[in-house]
Structures are given as structure tokens and as C-alpha cells.
Point group: C2
Chain length 291, copies 2
């Protein structure tokens, strides 16, 4: 009998829900607005129950979820969203609610850890021992995979809140940290800093050069911290033409050949767009199940 | 028959050589100046040959070495120091020279990765899934252990070269990166910035408050990157009275309760002095063998 999997990419704006098979074919897909936990989780459960009735029997659900999450299996609140600035969503035991509502096993990790795992398995980060996935969208987040496992320590990486230096042209707007990469480079922050949506800024707007500098300095710090063989930069903001290339240039300028790359590699081979396009997140949910 | 181990903590100033047993008893110990590779490595080999003749038969040597190193077992230059600013020491195949000279197996990693492993096994970082060891001495370096294994990716961590923000009072002196943590906070950098040796600056010298701020911001970035359960701060500069406590305060101020600590932990439980005192390095060499 063919096996099916339930997948959720749970973001702060949308819950992207899907049914897939082992070969990564997406058979059904639907998006729900992220409103309140009661409304959104109920809608998601109803959707997956319909799929079960339609014959997509699944016993496993992959949940790539916005954080911060409690990922400690020994903790009483394992699988909960902990303390998030997002209204209504703090202390929501999302894993448990889905397990009870759908009578299936739920495999949870952060959306970005899951995306990093998907890029490692099937995307731009294959055959690496250390890889990083960063999304630069409304916010900035990052996940890390080391020797094929997502990084979980005290909590999980919060790469968006790394402090960034050497960009005096703008003032970051993160309510916690000011000049962290999220406060400087997220779509939401760009809009606040320049009083104009990132989408509407043309390629020659000075914001983009500064954006590349921030992300270049961020990549510098990722390189000297994790020594990754792959950094994937995804998310809506990164789709701006020329931004990836300029980010790589700034990272090279900043590192100043301090790191000697084996095999004549360079940052161009390391810092790339996602191999899975916009699918890193939903395939991430599948990667959590198949792992 | 009792087994003995040869240990080298190879630093830029001294090679600390020792014979130990499995119980971490240091039976013989001698330091050699780091001069040229020919002179230093010959002296080290002669020392260990004497120990063999004295009855300390060892078949394994742990080498905790200054870097950057080639740690890729598949590489032709595996076990070499690669491109270091230290005169004479670039492209020195130190692992191979010791293996040939002493007819034993050599287990190599960076000095700081090895120290992190020793703190994980026997020191302040026991029972963690992610721990970091940082030395703030003449230079600044850092090693990382994840799930009991030292972190090796493209190369290895170079934590001393992380860019640091939010400290406009001083200008960093790293020839590569200016304001990286080594350029701002290493003993050598403090001496260059304040025109006075770090040792000679009294506790109320303004340099120490700024030093703590730099290290606090560095710890912020380590927390959001690796989410470690333990950061050990070692090295000569850290022995300054009050510096560790002030560093923790600045890290707390900088993180602004963004990270929710499980079990009511706080940074005071995470950021600590070495559990192994000044022995993290030489025990690190032993940890590499026993691993």
C-alpha cells in the first residue's frame, strides 16, 4: 500500500498544508491564514481529516513551525511554541493538539531547521557536513544541519538575532536588539527604515547595496562560526535581482581571504540560492518525517 | 600493561608536551618555545623518544594544535598547518612529521576544539549537546563540540574572527577584519589599543568595561548561533578579576530576554570559567585520543 505523509509549513502569516508521497510529489496543497491558534489549528485539522476521508491515509505528520519552540523531548512542554512576540501564539502546544486531533505521530522542528534539512537531503547542500539555511523575508531566520542532524542545543539557532557591525548608514529596528540582522535586513525592517516597501524599491535604490553589505557581514560571521560548506539564502527579499551576487561580493571583501578554501572553492560555491526554490519549507516538513 | 599517551598542546608561543595515563595523571611535562618548525618539532620528537626509552611506551599521540589546520582526512595535506600569519609555520605537515619521527598514531584537532572536547568530557560542559570553548589570551580562538563531536565543516570554526558591533569606544586592530573579537579583545590587541599591556591595567581601567562589552556582544552572537548549553571562557586575559561576571551582565543586557531559558536557567549557568583550569588544552590532546 502506498504511504502518504501530512506536511505543514507553519509560518507567522500562512499555514501551508499538503499531502505528499515518499517521492516528494505534492498531491494536495492548501494555505490557511495564521489568525488565532484555535481558528487556524481547527481549520488545519479539518483539512487533513478531509484528506483522510478522501483516501490519503497518513500516520505521520511533519511540522516545520515558526518559533521559538520547545524541542527538548524530555520537557513537559515539548512541541510547544514558547514565548513569541506574535499575539495569541505563546505557549501553544501545537504538536500535542495535532496529535490528538489527527491521531498521528507529529515530527516537529523549526521551519528553518527543517528547510536546512531539506536542502541537505535534496537541494543545494547535498554532501556537506555543515549547512545553513537562511530565509530573508518578512523576518530573518536561520537553521543549521550538522552531520545530517538539525542543530538543537539549549533551544535552537536564532540566527536572525545575530548582531551586525560595520553598517553605519542605517539604524536597525529590532525591538530587542536594534542592529541584528533581522532588525536591519528583514523585509519588515527595510520598510520601516526606508518608509517604503522592499518590493517597491528599484534595483538602483541605495537600500539594496546596504542590504547586501548587512547580509555579507552576516555571512562572514556564519563562515567563521560554523565553517559551513553551504549557506542557502532563501526568502522573498532574496529574490531581488543581483542581491545574492552582491552579498557574496561583500562577504568576500569582509573575510579578506582569511579563510583558505580547500579545492580552490570560493564563496560563490558556498553561498547560493535554494536548490528547492520556494519548496524548502514544505519539503522540510517531509524531511523531518523521513529522517 | 599500563597504557601511556603522548600529548602536545601546540601553541604559537609554546609547545606543551606531556605523558599521561588514562586517568588523566600527567606523569611528565615539558614546554618548548615555538621557534621554527625544524627546531621545535625536532626538540619535541627528541623529548618523546627519551620518554619512550624511560619506559613510557605510547602508541598514540594527541595533538591539540594552533591553526588553521587541514582536518579533512580525504585531503592530501590532512594534518598540516595551512596558511598562518605566523612566520615559517605555513604548510607544515606536523601530523605526518610526528608520525614518522615517533612511529605512533597522531590524533589532531585545533587546540580550541580539543579544549572544548575536554571540557565536555571532564570539565564545565558535561552533559550538554552543544558546548563552546573560547580562549581570550594573546589571541582569541574558539572551538565547538556538538553531540560529543568537535565541529569540522569546510575547515573548522574561527570564532576569534567574528565581527563585533556596538562598541564605538575603540577601534579594532585585526589586520584582516579590524573589529573582530580578536582585533578588539585579545591581549595583543588591548596592548595595541591602550598602549599598555593588559596585565598592567588595573581593575578600574576603562579598558576592562569595554573588554566585557565586546565579550558580552560576542557571547550574544554565540548564543543565537549555536544555542549552546555551555560557553567556557578561558585564557590569560579572562583571569582578570570581575571580567567574567561583567561579560555575563553585558551579554544579558544585549540579549534582552529574547532567549527563553528552559528550567529557569540563565546565562550565569551557561557562561563560566573552565572546569579544568589551565589544563583544558593538554587534556584536550588526551580527549582526542580517547574519543
Amino acid at each position: 500500500m502506498q504511504e502518504f505523509y501530512a506536511l505543514i509549513e507553519a509560518g507567522g502569516t500562512k499555514f501551508n498544508c499538503a499531502i505528499a508521497d515518499k517521492q516528494r510529489n505534492i498531491l494536495v496543497e492548501k494555505r490557511f491564514d495564521t489568525t488565532t491558534p484555535v481558528d487556524t489549528i481547527s481549520a488545519v485539522i479539518a483539512f487533513f481529516k478531509q484528506q483522510q476521508q478522501a483516501g490519503y491515509n497518513f500516520r505521520k505528520l511533519g511540522l516545520a513551525c515558526f518559533g521559538p519552540l520547545d524541542l527538548n523531548p524530555a520537557s513537559l512542554s515539548f512541541g510547544s511554541i514558547t514565548s513569541t512576540p506574535k499575539p495569541h501564539w505563546s505557549n501553544v502546544d501545537i504538536k500535542q493538539q495535532l496529535e490528538k486531533g489527527l491521531h498521528c505521530a507529529v515530527f516537529i522542528d523549526t521551519d528553518v531547521n527543517a528547510a536546512a534539512l531539506a536542502e541537505f537531503k535534496w537541494g543545494a547542500s547535498q554532501n556537506t557536513s555543515v549547512n545553513i539555511y537562511v530565509t530573508v523575508g518578512t523576518g530573518v531566520g536561520g537553521g543549521v544541519v550538522i552531520n545530517g542532524q538539525t542543530l538543537k542545543g539549549l533551544v535552537h539557532p536564532e540566527l536572525g538575532h545575530m548582531l551586525i557591525s560595520g553598517v553605519p548608514e542605517i539604524k536597525g529596528v529590532c525591538p530587542f536588539h536594534g542592529n541584528c540582522v533581522e532588525g536591519l535586513a528583514a523585509g519588515r525592517s527595510m520598510a520601516a527604515i526606508w518608509q517604503q516597501s522592499a518590493d517597491s524599491m528599484k534595483e538602483d535604490h541605495p537600500a539594496w547595496d546596504i542590504e547586501a553589505k548587512v547580509l555579507g557581514n552576516f555571512c562572514h560571521n556564519l563562515m567563521v562560526s560554523f565553517s559551513p560548506q553551504s549557506i542557502v539564502l532563501g526568502g522573498g527579499v532574496m529574490s531581488k535581482k543581483g542581491l545574492l551576487e552582491k552579498t557574496i561580493e561583500y562577504a568576500e571583501q569582509s573575510l579578506k581571504n582569511y579563510i583558505v578554501f580547500p579545492y580552490n572553492q570560493g564563496l560563490k560555491q558556498i553561498i547560493t540560492a535554494p536548490g528547492l526554490g520556494s519548496r524548502s519549507g514544505v519539503f522540510g516538513a517531509l524531511a523531518l518525517i523521513l529522517d
